[in-house]
Symmetry: C2
Subunit: 408 residues, 2 copies
C-alpha cells in the first residue's frame, strides 16, 4: 500500500487539468433549441431592430410641430385622414401639414409624420381631431435601429443562452446559431461493496452506488453523461472498462473508486498502465485521493469513492474542465454571505465547506454544516452551497464575508 507522500495544490492541479482541455467541436443548431447552450460565435445583428420607425404608443401620427400650443382649454384641431378601403394600404398614407391618422403601437410611422400623440390627450369628432397636449417631433416613436443597429454585436461567444437571448435571436431573424457541441463523458463506479440502487437491497454489507448517479446528474449541466455503472475491483475488468469507454464513444471518463489507498492505486495504476497518470493526490478536503490522467488522448478523472469527496473533486476540477472545453466565459454566480460561525481550516490544503444560507431582509448568512467525514451525504442535501477556504488560510472568522458557490 502506498500513501500520498506529496499532494499537489488545488491551484496547480487545476492548471494542469486545464492544460489538457481541448475545445469542444462547434455545431450549428436551430436557435430555439439553443436554450442553455454555450454560444460559439459573436452574434452581430444582420438588421436594424426595429427595422423601421414605428409608433411606441396608441394614438395619432402627426407632425409634432402641428401640436405646438395645444392645451386642455385650447385644443389644436387637425384634419383626420380616413382609413383606406383596401386592407394593408394604411402604411402608404402620407400625412400632410395639419393632418393626422390613427396609429397603433408597433405600426410603422406614416410618411410625413414624425410623432405620435397619445390617445388620452385627444378627442375625435367626425373629421376633426382635438389635441389637448403638444408633442415634440420624435415623441412616442421607436426609431429604426433604436433597439439594435445593423452590425451591432448583440451576443458574445462564450455566453450561456437564456430565454431572452433566444428572443433576441428571434427578433433578428437569426434562426441558426453556432454552439459548442456537448462532449460525452463516461461515468464508472468501482467497488465490490457497491450495489446498484435498482437492485434489491439485501442489507448484507453492501452499499448503494451513489457516485455514478450524482456524477451523471452533475455532468448533465454541461455535457452528455454516459453512465456505465459499477465495475468490480478487478484490475483487468477496470482496464477493459476504461479502454472500452474511451475507445468507442466517450470523449472522457469519470471513474470513482473505493476511496481506500489500495483501491485508489488500483485505478490510478490502470490509468498509468493504459496511458499516463498526470497526477494523483490533491491538497483538498474532502477529495484528496483525486487523480487525473490521459488515455487514448482523452482525459480520465480518478475520483474518490466517498460521494461528498467525489462531489468536491467534481466541483473543483471536473466542472472547470467542462466549462473550459465548452467555451464558457461566464463566471459562476456567487453569493456573498456573512459567516455565522467560525469555520476552522488547516493551512496547506483547500477546504470545501458545505454551508446553509440564511436570508434576512437584505443580507445572507452562511452557516457551516459540521460533519465528521466525507461519507456524510446528508451534509450535501442539507446545504445550499459551498465555500472554499484557500490553502494558505487558517479558517474563517465569525462575521467574515465569504463567497458561497450556490448549487445548481
Amino acid at each position: 500500500m502506498k500513501l500520498f507522500r506529496k499532494l499537489m495544490s488545488l491551484e496547480e492541479a487545476l492548471k494542469t487539468v486545464l492544460s489538457y482541455a481541448k475545445s469542444a467541436e462547434i455545431e450549428e443548431i436551430v436557435f430555439d433549441d439553443a436554450l442553455n447552450r454555450i454560444l460559439a460565435e459573436d452574434v452581430r445583428s444582420p438588421i436594424n431592430s426595429p427595422p423601421f420607425d414605428r409608433a411606441a404608443m396608441d394614438g395619432y401620427a402627426i407632425r409634432g410641430e402641428d401640436s405646438f400650443g395645444a392645451a386642455p382649454n385650447n385644443p389644436v384641431l387637425l384634419r383626420l385622414r380616413k382609413r383606406q378601403r383596401e386592407k394593408g394600404k394604411e402604411s402608404r398614407v402620407e400625412i400632410g401639414q395639419g393632418e393626422c391618422f390613427t396609429i397603433q403601437t408597433g405600426m410603422p410611422l406614416l410618411k410625413g409624420s414624425n410623432a405620435v400623440v397619445k390617445l388620452e390627450y385627444t378627442k375625435e369628432s367626425g373629421d376633426t381631431l382635438e389635441i389637448f397636449k403638444p408633442v415634440t417631433p420624435g415623441k412616442n416613436v421607436s426609431f429604426t435601429g433604436e433597439d439594435v443597429t445593423l452590425g451591432e454585436e448583440v451576443l458574445k461567444e462564450g455566453k450561456v443562452l437564456r430565454a431572452h437571448d433566444i428572443g433576441m435571436l428571434a427578433s433578428l431573424f437569426k434562426t441558426k446559431v453556432k454552439v459548442y457541441k456537448r462532449v460525452k463523458f463516461g461515468i464508472i463506479s468501482t467497488g465490490n461493496e457497491l450495489l446498484d440502487p435498482t437492485e434489491s437491497f439485501e442489507g448484507e454489507n453492501k452499499i448503494a452506488d451513489v457516485n455514478s448517479y450524482v456524477l451523471a446528474a452533475l455532468t448533465k449541466k454541461n455535457a452528455i453523461p454516459h453512465r456505465i455503472g459499477i465495475v468490480r475491483d478487478d484490475y483487468e475488468k477496470i482496464k477493459s472498462a476504461i479502454t472500452y469507454s474511451l475507445g468507442a464513444h466517450c470523449n472522457g471518463l469519470l471513474i470513482s473508486g473505493g476511496s481506500s489507498v489500495g483501491k485508489r492505486d488500483f485505478i490510478a495504476d490502470a490509468v498509468e498502465d493504459l496511458g499516463k497518470l498526470v497526477f494523483h493526490g490533491v491538497a483538498i478536503r474532502p477529495g484528496e485521493p483525486t487523480g487525473f490522467g490521459i488515455v487514448n488522448n482523452k482525459p480520465v478523472f480518478v475520483l474518490p469513492g466517498y460521494p461528498v469527496a467525489a462531489l468536491s473533486a467534481f466541483e473543483l476540477l471536473v466542472r472547470p474542465f467542462l466549462y473550459d472545453i465548452h467555451g464558457l466565459k461566464e463566471e459562476r454566480r456567487k453569493i456573498f454571505a456573512i459567516a455565522s460561525k467560525k469555520i476552522p481550516s488547516a493551512v496547506g490544503r483547500t477546504d470545501f465547506v458545505r454551508v446553509k444560507l440564511l436570508c434576512t431582509k437584505n443580507e445572507y448568512y452562511a452557516e457551516p454544516i459540521r460533519v465528521s467525514g466525507s461519507s456524510i451525504l446528508s451534509s450535501m442535501t442539507k446545504s445550499d452551497g459551498f465555500v472554499l477556504i484557500e490553502e494558505n488560510k487558517e479558517g474563517i472568522g465569525e462575521g467574515e464575508k465569504v463567497a458561497v458557490n450556490v448549487r445548481d
Copy 2:
C-alpha cells in the same frame, strides 16, 4: 377604444392569479429522471445509512483499548490475523484482544473490533503489527445511521431535486419518487405585423414574433410549453385558437397581443366571450396591459405584445403561478446588491427595472439599464437580472441595497 381606467395593483393581481392555481397532478418516476423536478412527497429513509458500522480510514481494525500507551518510540504490538482463503469471508473474521486485521475504507468493521488505526501510524512485520499512536474506541469508524437514520426525513416535499439529492435517493435505494407532473401551456402570439423568424425576412413593415419563443423558453423551466405560434388579428381566429388549445391538450394558455389598447381588448374580449376575464390592466411597468381569465376552467394569461413587457408580466405573474401549481416551496434565490445609481420610479405602480451586476471582491453593484421603452429587447440581453421597485416607493437612492432577481 377603451383605456385602462383602473389598474389593479401587482399584489392584488398576484393574489387573484394564485387563487385560481390548482395543484398539478402527481406522478411517480424513476429517481434518476427526477433531476430538477419538484418533489411531491416527504422522503423518509427506509434504511440506516450507512447500513452497518464501517471503516472510515484505511488501516487495521483493532480494539481501541489495545492501543493505549502506544508512542513513536514505544509501539504497541498486536497479532496480525491473516486473510482468509475464501474470498468474501473477511467480514466473518472476529477480532480478539491483542489482535488486528487489515481493513479498507468503507468495509464493514470486523466483529470484536471498535476502532481503526490509520495505516501511517503502523508497521507490519510478519505476523506482528507495530502501532505508534493510540486510538480511542470509535475512532475512524462510520457508525450505522451516522449519515441518515431509519425513518429520518431527508428531503421535503416542494423542493427542487438537485444532483446531490439524486445521490441521496440512490444511497437509500429509493428508486421511485413522486414529483409534480409538469403542466402543458399553450403559447400564442397575435398580430398582423408578425412574421415567424424562420420565414424569410422581407423587410416590409414586418417584425419577428419574439414572444412565443421567449415565453416557451421561460415556461420550459417549470412546465411543458406548446408553441402554437402566430395567430392573426382576427377575432374569430383568436377565439378558435383559444378554444382549440384549451379544449384538447393544454392545461393553460399564454397569449400575447399586439400591445395596443385596441388589440389588447381584442384578446381580452375573446377571453370574456369564451369564459371570464378576471382582470385586465395591472399597475406594473412595463407590462401594464396584462390580463388574466378563465376559459374551460383553465387559466389564460393575456400578455402584452412588447417582448420586455411580456417578460416582465411573465416574471411577475406567470412564473409565480407555475411555481405554485407545481408545488415549489423554495424561494427564488436573490442577490443583494448596492445601487450604483439612483433609480427613479413613480408611486402607484411597480417598476420592473433591468440591471447589470458588477462584482467586486466581496460585493455586488446593480447598475440600472436606462432605456426609453419596453420595445428595447437589448435591455434584457444586457442585463443580469431585475429589481422590483414597489408601488409605494419613489425610487431607489444611490448606495441603497436592492434585491436582484437573477436570470435563469
